[in-house]
């Protein structure tokens, strides 16, 4: 834990300029249909030439009322819905929700289930980071990494498909454990993936890490200090790239993460290049976790004793996990019935997106694209 006490003063966001339509200024609408806003994000940019004077995010185009739906479904029925929030990291979403409900029910998933959960979640983290890398590089103009990452992401999706029949919105876990036993050759597949992945990551790095244009486009772009990060509640790789060594897998371990030895990569300057490096390192650390986990999945049941009709006692719980994008939290309130009284999702993308404004002030239009890419937002999660 770093000394975060020095970040305690609050952030000065500054007043929005009153002269929003000055003659030299150009208001430009980026999105909701724009190739680089990763979905239906709309950013209103105030420009002076190419310089960004201010931004305003308009979100909600993908709002489906997930939290309202939750109040009208049983605990079990709501489980697949969470996959549709951050659809590139559906497994993490499911893990967070299942663990939260398990906590509320006061049960615990058996160790074998926890190991399977860790393996799938880490694979999902890799897939999410790969997708991020591909699209981020494409935004900055490098086409080729996209196809490399999609090639390798395919391997992960194949494992998901073999495991649970779905590739993207997996609904892999159930409250109390996992529904499916690992298939024959599951460990072999994962092992094969782990063996080939480092060289693939080297391949991406070869294309980008020392590429002059890439470095020029990302170094010093969208810099955010650790203080601002904490004040804005930014979590995940963005926070770590600013130098805060904070990862929920270490800070408040869940599932089986206590058993594994891995490092939390951190950056120094908090710019786009550091975030890129942090995520690349995270991918390698995920591989390390996988390597430790895959060999020694304990034997035993994969499902805890779960009541047939889930009626958690009256009470409330907040549980959060380290999703690929940051802290993904579930605040679940039970009124003793079969349906949750309230499910609040604390989405990392939503909170991280708030930081866009201070990250791009004074930078150029092209940097906005780079910063949106580096924040790694998924609009399904922002809007829920």
């Amino acid at each position: 834990m770093t000394d975060a006490t020095k970040y305690l003063s609050h952030l000065e966001l500054g007043e929005p300029d009153k002269t929003f339509l000055d003659s030299n200024e150009l208001i430009i609408n980026m999105g909701p249909q724009h190739p680089a806003t990763h979905g239906v994000l709309r950013v209103i940019l105030k420009l002076d030439g190419e310089k960004v004077l201010g931004t305003e995010c308009v979100i909600g185009y993908l709002h489906r009322g997930v939290e309202k739906i939750a109040e009208h479904r049983t605990y079990t029925m709501f489980n697949p819905y969470v996959d549709r929030m951050d659809y590139v990291a559906a497994v993490s979403n499911g893990l967070g929700y299942c663990e939260a409900v398990e906590k509320l029910l006061n049960i615990e998933a058996p160790p074998r289930a926890n190991y399977i959960r860790v393996i799938l979640t880490e694979l999902n983290r890799l897939a999410s980071h790969q997708l991020w890398l591909g699209t981020h590089a494409l935004d900055i103009g490098a086409m080729t990494p996209l196809f490399y990452t999609f090639r390798d992401r395919e391997e992960i999706l194949k494992i998901f498909e073999k495991y649970c029949g779905a590739r993207l919105t997996t609904h892999a876990f159930r409250i109390g454990g996992c529904l499916y036993e690992t298939y024959d050759g599951f460990e072999r597949d994962v092992k094969k993936f782990i063996d080939s992945a480092p060289s693939k990551i080297d391949e991406y790095e070869e294309l980008l890490t020392t590429n002059r244009i890439w470095v020029e486009r990302t170094k010093g772009v969208g810099t955010i200090s650790a203080k601002d990060c904490i004040a804005l509640g930014v979590t995940g790789p963005v926070l770590r790239a600013s130098g805060v060594k904070w990862d929920l897998r270490k800070a408040q371990p869940y599932a089986a993460y206590r058993d594994f030895d891995f490092e939390i990569p951190i950056g120094e300057s908090g710019d786009t290049y550091d975030r890129y490096l942090v995520r690349m390192q995270e991918m390698r650390q995920s591989l390390r976790i996988l390597e430790q986990a895959v060999g020694k999945i304990p034997e035993g049941p994969i499902m805890a004793k779960v009541p047939k009709v889930m009626k958690p006692p009256v009470g409330e719980i907040y549980h959060s996990i380290e999703a690929p994008k940051g802290e993904l939290g579930y605040f679940i309130v039970s009124d003793g019935s079969t349906q949750p009284y309230r499910v609040r999702v604390r989405p990392p993308s939503f909170v991280n997106l708030q930081a866009l404004d201070i990250m791009v002030r004074g930078q150029l239009v092209a940097d906005v694209i780079a910063v949106i890419g580096t924040l790694d937002i998924v609009l399904g999660e922002v809007d829920r």
Partner: protein, 201 residues
């Protein structure tokens, strides 16, 4: 795909069965009376109690600590928590709606302290139409989170720099996460005007 255990197979054809069916013999009777919240004591609570007296009701449930506080304490207590108790990170701001209660809304702050690696919740109750001071000046992140609470519950935060709807369109009527808002209910007028859909669906 061979499976050697008692677990159901992957959904090759039919729908996945609810997970609760898997361990049949584990159908324990539902526990209506679960663990009850217990009082929570710590040095921090001691300090706060000293300062604010009975306005604070600290509790712990399932190992998670929270305090129910009087709404009059709100901006001040949060400021104290951030400045003196090192809760530098506001995880979430959210609300709950209890329509049958007199003070209809619970507003919940979920806080985390990086130096202490500790998570607490602060909860307060307010009535419908009552305003509550904004804590954007305490944690900048509360900006969008408070906007969302306003959008979904209609709770107004006083002193918020730009309190407007965030997920729903600006002209929308109604606050969908209130319990009296139906799940398929929508602002028919808005839909007709803006989307040109006559039926409203």
């Amino acid at each position: 795909m061979p499976e050697e255990t008692k677990t159901p197979s992957p959904p090759s054809g039919g729908e996945p069965k609810p997970a609760a069916e898997a361990p049949h013999r584990a159908a324990a009777p539902p526990k209506p009376a679960g663990p009850a919240p217990e009082p929570w004591n710590s040095s921090m609570i001691g300090r706060l109690k000293e300062q604010y007296g009975s306005g604070i009701d600290p509790l712990t449930y399932l190992g998670q600590n929270y305090m129910v506080v009087d709404s009059s304490l709100i901006p001040e207590l949060l400021q104290v928590l951030r400045d003196q108790e090192e809760f530098d990170y506001c995880v979430d701001v959210t609300a709950l709606h209890y329509p049958e209660r007199e003070k209809q809304f619970d507003v919940v702050w979920i806080l985390y302290s990086h130096p202490r690696n500790e998570r607490i919740r602060v909860k307060t109750m307010i009535a419908d139409g009552e305003v509550i001071p904004s804590c954007v000046s305490v944690w900048a992140t509360a900006n969008w989170l408070e906007r969302e609470v306003y959008d979904m519950f209609g709770i107004r935060f006083e002193g918020h720099p730009d309190l407007k709807r965030i997920l729903l369109p600006d002209g929308w009527k109604g606050h969908p996460l209130r319990k009296d808002y139906g799940i398929i209910q929508q602002d028919n007028e808005w839909v007709q005007i803006n989307l040109g859909i006559e039926s409203g669906q």
